[in-house]
Amino acid sequence: MNRVVEKEYFSHAVVMLVVEAPRIAKSRQAGHFVIVRIGQKGERIPLTIAEADIEKGTITIIVQKVGVTSIKLCNLEEGDYITDVVGPLGKPTHIEKVGTVLACGGGVGVAPLLPIVEAFKKAGNKVITVLAARSRELIILEEQMRNFSDEVVIMTDDGSYGKKGLVTHGMEEVIKREQIDLSVTVGPAIMMKYCTLLTRKHEIPTVASLNTLMVDGTGMCGACRVTVGGKTKFVCVDGPEFDAFEVDFDEMLLRLDSYKPSETEAYESFQKKYQKA
């Protein structure tokens, strides 16, 4: 049982939770994630660690309401408990001084991107960050990103904040004027796919942090498997980060929708119950 010590709404659909987990706070590195479960009948879902405070013994996770479990999480208040939190899982991000890093985050993918940006900056790189979302209220962690980036480019689909356009438009603008040595992309699978198409065209080495379905998160089940370089890899133990040029994003997109029909059904019945209560 892990207590929620702080909660903040970034928007009506995106919530930040600071959770007591002293061991994880101490052991985690950039790129790591945790698995959480809400209630004795809950499912296990992976969430990336955005920040950690070793002294307070807390980790920060950022959740977007998309399904039953994420809504349950977002409904927790300060003082409530998360039934299970386990981690840190996955391999940490490979950090080194490469020169200029172009970091691209979309939606809540910006949360896992934050520690990566921080680590690359601290390793002596120039970091240019592109944050993208549908609209102004979905742009998160801008201030924190500015702390560790040499430049932050904001893109919104509707132009309500920053520049109007997709993440790739923002990237292209940077690529035109800068020599980029490495690109990191974290966000919805479809976004990462298009980011990778762009960087491949410009021959910029790219790392993608994948967010697949998982059950145990320790290599036991294989729910998270993806094809990388023609071979099946497990995101939980071989990843979550891979050479983006080698990732079969189309297969990943299909697998992410494995439970779409039952998820929609579960979501609707959950909403009904929730509205009644």
Binding site: K41, E43, R44, P88, A223, K231, T232, A266
Partner: protein, 514 residues
């Protein structure tokens, strides 16, 4: 069997009550009795529910079966038991009607008798070397069924005895993993007075006993009870803790843990790497069973989903394959199929599991091998291409090698596939310890005599050493490791004491420490 043990068993056998029991019925009459059949749920009913298939022996049945045992002067059955249960003694206690006593005999050497009585492959262990099977060519004494009877009797009586604990020594030891190796280890170490903590990565204790073996073969509630017993013996359980990730072995050493057992299991499922294997609806058996057993996915009240279709193909011929296919049948599959590349004789699954599966309406497509999967536009598997096989010369495993028959391929409609072709060792612990000696297959190398790894404070047992074996072999490893760890720690303490003796003053000790 070693001399000392034989001598001990001989003395026990000469005790008054054993003599009296033997004199009651002549051996000739005992051997004329037929093996008592384990009552089970009707196949057509049980394949629609998750209740246990085997119902357990009644008292009368158990006493009758126990009276078949001849209480041999040289009980070979014990040599067939990986945890060395005093088999004739517990069986004779049943014959004498002292069922609680029988249970406590079991618990002298076995931390999980109710589990072992259900899932051990007795037919290739104790029962295989029973006098009846060896010399009389008759069905062996039903040792497993009797073990289950005694353990169940005790549990249902509410008089569960807690094994005696020797004086507590306060020395902290840990098991990494709460599966059968870890639990057997924890039981023995607690009995010897150690302060034992068991770390588990998942949110429930029990490892494969919980996530792997289905309810109809091993109800979770039985595992829970055995874990409660260990708690009563002082064993501490920590869930959601991955040693090597949440904290390292070094961190735990700093927190006072002296020695460790790695029993982290064979947690990495194998796939066949054939085209289409990542389509939706294709699971590893680990994932399929975990969703259903651990996460309760078949119950609509639980959040975890599972796709269990009308046409389910399970690839493989082991116990896990049988568990998966029988689960699929229970979840309403019209066709629940085993696809296995050799013939039924070569199947590694227990005979009982194969028989139960057949009775429940599982189809066996032996000498068949999948070669490719096909999906609809959403990426969901819809059919598979299989190839027929024939058997050639024996291979390294001694089983006849399956050879594909050219041109024999055909399509089978499937909407769920469960790949159950073995597991590889979980890499988390080996990855987190550079100095650990690991084989090319990823298993941890140990000294077979004492289960010690290349790092002296670290012992290992179960599937992380064996690569993929049985519950009881893992438990045997756990027990062996516990005995060896006890000797190792005592040796360490002795060394420290002898060092201290050489010092004359506290000052000398402090100088040495600096």
């Amino acid at each position: 069997m070693n001399e000392g043990l034989l001598e001990f068993l001989k003395k026990e056998r000469e005790q008054e009550w054993r003599l009296e029991l033997r004199s009651r019925v002549k051996n000739k009459e005992r051997t004329l009795l037929e093996r008592v059949h384990m009552p089970e749920q009707e196949a057509d009913i049980r394949n629609k529910n998750f209740s246990e298939v085997n119902l357990g022996l009644s008292e009368e049945q158990a006493v009758l079966e126990a009276s078949r045992c001849l209480d041999c002067p040289k009980p070979t059955c014990i040599t067939g038991c990986p945890v060395g249960i005093n088999i004739p003694k517990f069986i004779k206690k049943i014959e004498a009607g002292e069922y609680l006593e029988a249970a406590s005999v079991l618990k002298e050497t076995n931390a999980l008798p109710a589990v072992c009585g259900r899932v051990c492959p007795q037919e290739v262990q104790c029962e295989q070397v029973c006098f009846y099977a060896q010399k009389l060519d008759k069905a062996p004494v039903a040792i497993g069924n009797l073990e289950r009877f005694a353990a169940d009797y005790e549990r249902n009586s509410g008089n569960i005895s807690v094994p005696k604990i020797s004086g507590r020594n306060g020395i902290k030891v840990a098991s990494i993993g709460s599966g059968p190796a870890g639990l057997a280890f924890a039981g023995d170490m607690a009995k010897m007075g150690y302060n034992v903590t068991v770390f588990e990565a998942l949110h429930e204790i029990g490892g494969v006993l919980k996530y792997g073996i289905p309810e109809f073969r091993l109800p979770n509630q039985i595992v829970e009870k055995e874990i409660e017993n260990l708690e009563k013996m002082g064993v501490k359980f920590v869930k959601n803790f991955i040693v090597g990730k949440t904290a390292t072995v070094e961190d735990l050493q700093e927190e006072g843990f002296t020695a460790f057992l790695v029993g982290s299991g064979a947690g990495l499922p194998n796939f066949m790497h054939i085209p289409g294997e990542n389509y939706i609806g294709i699971y590893s058996s680990n994932e399929y069973l975990t969703r259903i057993n651990l996460m309760n996915a078949a119950n609509p009240e639980f959040d975890t989903p599972v796709i269990s279709g009308r046409n389910v193909a399970v690839i493989g011929g082991g116990n896990t394959a049988m568990d998966s296919v029988r689960t699929a049948k229970r979840l309403g599959a019209e066709r629940a199929m085993i696809i296995y590349r050799r013939s039924i004789e070569e199947m590694p699954a227990r005979v009982e599991e194969i028989k139960h599966a057949q009775e429940e309406g599982v189809e066996f497509l032996n000498l068949h091998n999948p070669v490719e999967y096909f999906a609809d536009e959403k990426g969901t598997v819809k059919s598979m291409k299989v190839q027929k096989m024939e058997l050639g010369e024996p291979d390294a495993s001694g089983r006849r090698r399956p050879i594909p028959i050219e041109g024999s391929e055909y399509l089978i409609d499937v909407d769920t596939v469960v790949v159950s072709v073995g597991v590889s060792p979980n890499p988390l612990i080996p990855q987190s310890m550079e100095d650990l000696d690991v084989s090319a297959w990823g298993t941890i190398n140990v000294d077979k005599e004492n289960m010690q790894t290349s790092i002296p404070d670290l012992f290992a047992g179960g599937d992380i050493v064996r690569g993929g074996a049985t519950v009881i072999l893992a438990m045997g490893d756990g027990r062996k490791a516990a005995a060896a760890m006890d000797r190792y720690i005592k040796g360490k303490v002795r060394n420290i004491l002898s060092l201290i003796k050489e010092f004359n003053t506290i000052g000398e000790i402090l100088d040495f420490a600096r």
